[in-house]
């Protein structure tokens, strides 16, 4: 296994008596597209601030490319790119001026900088608006520029915090494609979002943070396998004996009658359906619903409202 690009060990972060992170450990491999999920107040923002070097942990170690990383490690900052949830661009500057300014901050100069600016404008499809002030852009265009600013200095690790908030479907799709393309080109990405389907679609490995702890961190498939596929048959009400027999079918984990529907949980629905039909079930409609990341997320974090 390749050396981790990022390695967190026992990260704790407290603000007074409030413990925002309570011992988070995580390793991200080079070229990985890692999804980070968590309800509001779970500690995602705090964790991202530590990953970006904006603040240090109260305890624990952060290593970037095997080297200790934190607010004091300024030379390693150029390895990290950041696209924040809140737009972080100057509305009074043009797209090109925004890119030039942040490129210069990271040490890019001259032809190298100009070429990179053009490349980024091309990447986020803002070349024709390059010399317009960012304040005149639509929400989607601002998001794309925000992404470009985070990439202009060619980082090795890109932190994307809710990169599609408030954008139209076209821009969202564009950002998706860009992230995929960048990842395919070797860029390591940590992607946080409230849109579960985005993370499920993009990220092969996902961590779920809640109450400052990483309560789950695994491959997408493993996380999804935590929940059953639900087979729902619309049919006449069965007898209690029949329902009891259905529960004992191999592969079935549950069977219950709810308001005219027979709902059977299963780790594998395909072989179960013929067996139910063989038992005499006469459904008028059949629905097979595989578990989603949202189901997994809610099952892990609960349905109670968060601040």
């Amino acid at each position: 296994m390749a050396e981790s690009i990022l390695e967190l060990t026992g990260i704790r972060k407290s603000y007074g008596r409030t413990e925002a992170l309570a011992g988070v450990s995580l390793a991200v491999q080079p070229g990985e597209l890692f999804g980070l999920l968590g309800p509001n107040g779970a500690g995602k923002t705090t964790l991202l601030a530590i990953l970006a070097g904006l603040s240090g942990p109260s305890s624990g170690d952060v290593k970037l490319f095997g080297q200790p990383f934190g607010p004091a490690a300024r030379s390693a900052r150029h390895l990290v790119g950041l696209a924040t949830q809140d737009l972080a661009i100057y509305p009074e500057l043009t797209a090109r001026e925004n890119l030039r300014f942040f490129g210069r901050l990271y040490g890019l100069r001259g032809a190298n900088l100009n070429a990179r600016i053009d490349e980024m404008l091309e990447t986020v499809e803002l070349k024709d608006r390059a010399d317009h002030r960012a304040g005149t852009f639509s929400g989607g265009m601002k998001r794309r520029l925000n992404l470009a600013v985070g990439l202009v200095h060619r980082p090795e690790l890109l932190l994307l915090d809710e990169p599609t908030t408030g954008v139209d479907p076209q821009s969202r799709n564009h950002i998706f494609e860009r992230v995929r393309a960048l990842n395919a080109a070797g860029l390591t990405v940590i992607y946080t979002s409230h849109y579960m389907e985005e993370v499920q679609a993009l990220c092969p490995r996902i961590g779920i943070l809640d109450h400052g702890k990483m309560i789950a961190c695994d491959s997408r498939e493993t996380l999804l396998s935590r929940l059953d596929t639900v087979l729902t048959l619309t049919m006449a009400q069965p007898t209690d004996d029949w329902l009891a027999s259905a529960k004992t079918l191999p592969g079935a984990t549950s069977a219950e009658w709810i308001d005219g529907y027979l709902r059977v949980g299963s780790t594998d629905a395909a072989p179960l359906l013929p067996k139910l039909l063989a038992m005499g079930a006469m459904p008028t409609a059949i629905e097979v619903k595989a578990p989603t990341l949202e189901n997994v997320f809610l099952s892990l974090t609960g349905r109670a409202l968060r601040d």
Binding site: R77, H78, T84, L93, F102, R104, L105
Partner: protein, 495 residues
């Protein structure tokens, strides 16, 4: 150089922000313009100038036959007796080229702390007083010389057609052809001018009257009068009477040895030397300005005062820069970049300093071009004053920016602070009008030090620049800037 990168970016943002241009350049110019038009021409004049005495000279002098007249005496009966000329010396007092008004003006010019301004006509004087541009004007009427010439302690028995000009209050101006045109709304100024007139008239008239009276002593008319008071005096032979007359005259002169009754001038009477201050105490009359009144002294105060006041309005601009950086989320990017906190703060400080310096030079330049303000004898010395003021302003602005978190806080706290400092410092009104303790208190503000330096450099009547004052002011302003910057460095939270 990340600090320069940030500085250039912020300079670009400042130049694109119309609020900065309005607050830092347009507002002070408008205020200077409005105040300049609203304030009278007296504003900005120092106390010495406010004792200016304006006069109208209508005096036609003496008729040539009177000027060329013979001494008022009978045929000379003797030459000199000691230092006393027996021959009446009246003719020497007013040669044909000298009018009594000129004697009067010489006396006024000899008086310290008074400036004489000659107004060309009574009509112009009345107009100036009516408009409140002068509190009072002295008019020497056409018969002034003739009337002074007739002033006498002795009656018609001894000299023809005499005038008695004195009463219990001093000189009765109506009797000697002097009118004082007063503005009823400026009674203090009018009283001062009237007192000055009285004193000067006394100094001119009294020696003349004493000289005229003393000249008669021992003369035949005098001796004739004595016959009624000294028994047997009329029986003395004529040559003895003349000797007695000369003896009395000499005796009186010796008795009042500290005075020269024949001098005919006050300093001669008191045996003192006349002060040589005429040129300094004479002012050319310049017609009251119209429109902007370019070059008026008020702009020598208004322009630097508001330049200093609005230098500190930089607090708003810098505060908004920091708040905008947080509001736009770009502060997070700056903090995530491979640059230090010091580079971020320096990057913020540099453009603000540049803007402040540009503002200072621009306002002073506008002051010269638009309002005709003088740059004084050493214009180059304005440079360090502007730069040190800017440093102090930028330091304070950085400190306030570190305290305020929102645009509203910047606007409220910043404006309050700037106005408070301006009020304390004397930027909003001449410090001469402030009580002594407030003047001392004003030095807790950087503004007051800047104003001290500008007062030295820009005052057109300043005899010489006090380098120590200018240097001290610049040094204190830099110390203010450093202290504020250190406080900002210590207090500023970029998160």
């Amino acid at each position: 150089m990340p600090a320069f990168t940030i500085a250039l970016k912020d300079l670009r943002l400042l130049l694109r922000d119309p609020r900065s241009a309005v607050i830092l350049l347009l507002m002070p110019l408008v205020l200077i313009l409005v105040l300049g038009l609203s304030l009278g021409d007296a504003f900005g004049n120092n106390p010495d100038d406010r004792l200016q005495v304006s006069v109208v000279v209508e005096d036609a002098g003496l008729p040539s036959k009177v000027v060329a007249r013979e001494p008022i005496q009978e045929k000379p009966t003797g030459a000199l007796l000691g230092s006393v000329s027996y021959a009446a010396p009246m003719a020497r007092l007013h040669p044909p080229t000298k009018r009594w008004v000129d004697v009067m003006l010489d006396d006024l010019k000899d008086t310290g702390n008074i400036k004489i301004e000659i107004i060309p006509s009574r009509a112009e004087a009345e107009r100036l007083v009516k408009r409140g541009q002068r509190s009072a004007v002295i008019v020497f009427e056409p018969e002034f010389s003739q009337k002074i010439d007739r002033c006498s302690f002795v009656g018609a028995e001894f000299r023809p057609n005499p005038i008695s000009p004195l009463d219990r209050y001093g000189v009765v101006t109506d009797r000697v052809g002097v009118t004082v045109i007063e503005n009823p709304y400026q009674p203090i100024g009018g009283s001062v001018v009237k007192q000055v007139t009285q004193v000067s008239l006394m100094r001119v008239i009294v020696p003349w009257m004493i000289g005229g009276a003393f000249d008669l002593i021992g003369k035949p008319l005098f001796m004739k009068k004595m016959e009624g008071y000294i028994p047997g005096f009329s029986f003395l032979p004529a040559d003895m009477r003349a000797s007695v007359g000369l003896g009395i005259r000499k005796g009186i002169a010796a008795f009042f040895g500290d005075y020269d009754f024949t001098a005919l001038t006050w300093y001669g009477l008191t045996k003192d030397a006349p002060p040589d201050v005429k040129a300094k105490n004479t002012a050319e009359y310049t017609p009251p300005p119209t429109g902007l009144g370019r070059g008026a002294k008020k702009y020598q105060i208004l322009v630097p005062s508001y330049t200093v006041t609005f230098a500190f309005f930089l607090v708003l601009t810098v505060g908004w820069l920091f708040v905008a950086e947080r509001r736009h989320g770009t502060m997070v990017r700056l903090r995530a970049a491979p640059i230090t906190r010091g580079q971020i703060l320096l990057g913020k400080l540099l453009p603000c300093f540049a803007v402040s310096a540009i503002q200072g030079f621009a306002l002073l330049l506008f002051g010269k071009l638009i309002f005709g303000m003088s740059f004084g004898a050493e214009p180059w010395l304005i440079v360090p004053v502007v730069l040190s003021t800017s440093f102090a302003a930028v330091g304070l602005a950085m400190f306030v920016a570190g305290l305020a978190r929102t645009e509203t806080q910047v606007a409220v706290y910043g404006t309050l602070l700037v106005l408070l400092l301006a009020g304390l410092s004397g930027s909003m009104m001449p410090r001469e009008l402030m009580p002594e303790w407030m003047r001392s208190l004003s030095y807790v503000t950087p503004h007051a030090w800047a104003l001290d330096a500008y007062e030295q450099l820009l005052h057109p009547d300043s005899p010489a620049i006090d380098w120590a004052t200018v240097g001290t002011s610049c040094g204190v302003l830099c110390a203010f800037g450093l202290a504020f910057s250190l406080l900002a460095w210590w207090w500023m939270n970029l998160e």
